[in-house]
Amino acid sequence: MIELNQVTKQYGQATVLKNITLSIDEPGIYCLLGRNGAGKTTLLKSIAGYQNITNGTIKVDSKAITISTLDTGVSYIENFAKHFNLPVRKLIRIASEVNPNYDYDFALDMMDRFELDGKKKFNHLSLGMKTMVSTIICLASNKDVILLDEPVLGFDAIMRVEFYDMLTQSFQKHPRIIIVSTHIIEEIAKTIQKLIIIDKGSIRFFDTLQSVETKAFSISGLQKDVKAVTQNLNLIGQDTVGGLMTSYIFDYPPEQTAALEIHPLSLQDFFIQMVGHKGGAIK
């Protein structure tokens, strides 16, 4: 369980995380979405205890997490993590030795599945393969909380599909909290249970994908018709072209009429409306 209470992080005058209060109670695969510089990495590093926060508290399984915490129970991996320049198989073996609950068999299975050459030294791997090794090490650690920061960076399409399968397989084997930060939204949708959207250091959305499917819609039509049906709804964005208007809502949609076109929003469109800074916000 992760609890963030009024978490603020400042770098000099810049506030990167603003009063974040968030509680993740249940095991699951959570997707952390946000634009570049939204605060994703800072948030993940803070939860992992790799970075100090300016204000607030972070708890993992009721244990306060700061950089002073010597054993956090959190496994975090960043996309350009540096490792010892050793053969991959040896690196994975060392990881199994330093992690008490390491799932060595899972790590070896994944190594075979991704056709990683166990004899190849880490520095000789491609960017995608390096990221894959880091991800396998992190997932196999079996810690209570797994934080993956942009794990699919440098992966080709096939590797990304394999990665999502690996994520699901790992979770099914050992249910725990896994947070994945990514920019590739639609692909991960099938894998995740909940979505966290962070923007300019604040959490803008934290709910299930089902809620997006049932509540995120675009309503198009003549300006007066659209305004009339959306006046009491939760608007997250609006586009106007001539006399036509498209409103984006996060609410139960109005009844379909001949004058209106109502369509569910894709996850990507929903994300764009949430962080596109056109005045959209969930009330």
Binding site: K45, S75, K82, A95
Partner: protein, 215 residues
């Protein structure tokens, strides 16, 4: 404990360059004349090189492999203890077996210079071990502090102490007194006790620094 020993194993294995440099210097160093330096002295080089690798090379990589800061801390302490023992053993062996072979009248070994051999070779080896442990822990803490303002402040204070205490006779006596206690000390019990005490105090300081260490 399994994780701690895995960290120890990794720390020692990734210290290969330190071992090689020390071995090369110890084997290749030559001196001639009536007074020569013992090659065993150069084994101390490993004690100086090791903390650089542990602090600047191994920490981040071990964290990325999933090791905890706690295991890293204990792993470093155990490794320093083990290396202090090995270096001391090597220097003692060289002092016993190789130094007498020199044709020179005087072979200078640090164990003699520090008056440790006055207490017999075994006690001298033990004194050397605890002194080297102190050196490694001190360097580890000093190097760990370098990314922070207090590291630079400590550097400045150390330089200032040496610069100010050396030219002024009264202060020079204080400085030499300090080195007589921690290094040039013929009283084995006092020397080992002081080294252990300082190592423990520095270890706690190192723990405080480690707690503030970020990735």
């Amino acid at each position: 404990m399994k994780a701690v020993f895995a960290v120890v194993k990794r720390l020692l294995a990734s210290n290969k360059i330190g071992f090689i440099i020390t071995a090369l210097v110890a084997l290749c160093a030559t001196s001639s004349g009536e007074v020569v330096l013992s090659n065993g002295n150069y084994a101390w080089l490993l004690a100086v090189l090791t903390p650089f690798f542990f602090v600047f090379y191994d920490f981040t990589k071990l964290m990325h492999l999933g090791a905890s800061k706690k295991d890293y801390f204990f792993g470093c302490l155990i490794s320093y203890g083990f290396l202090a023992f090995c270096i001391s053993l090597v220097n003692t062996a060289i002092h016993l077996l190789i130094d007498p072979v020199y044709s020179a009248h005087t072979v200078i070994n640090m164990m003699d210079v520090c008056k440790w051999t006055d207490n017999g070779i075994i006690v001298a080896g033990v004194q050397q071990m605890f002194f080297l442990l102190l050196v490694m822990v001190f360097l580890h803490v000093l190097l760990s502090m370098q990314p922070h303002w207090y590291g630079w402040l400590t550097d400045a204070v150390l330089v200032a102490v040496i610069c100010i205490f050396t030219p002024i006779a009264a202060l020079r006596a204080v400085l030499s007194g300090f080195f007589r206690i921690i290094m040039l000390n013929g009283n084995a019990v006092l020397h080992i006790g002081i080294c252990l005490l300082l190592s423990a105090a520095l270890s706690f300081a190192g723990l405080a620094v480690l707690k503030r260490k970020t990735l």
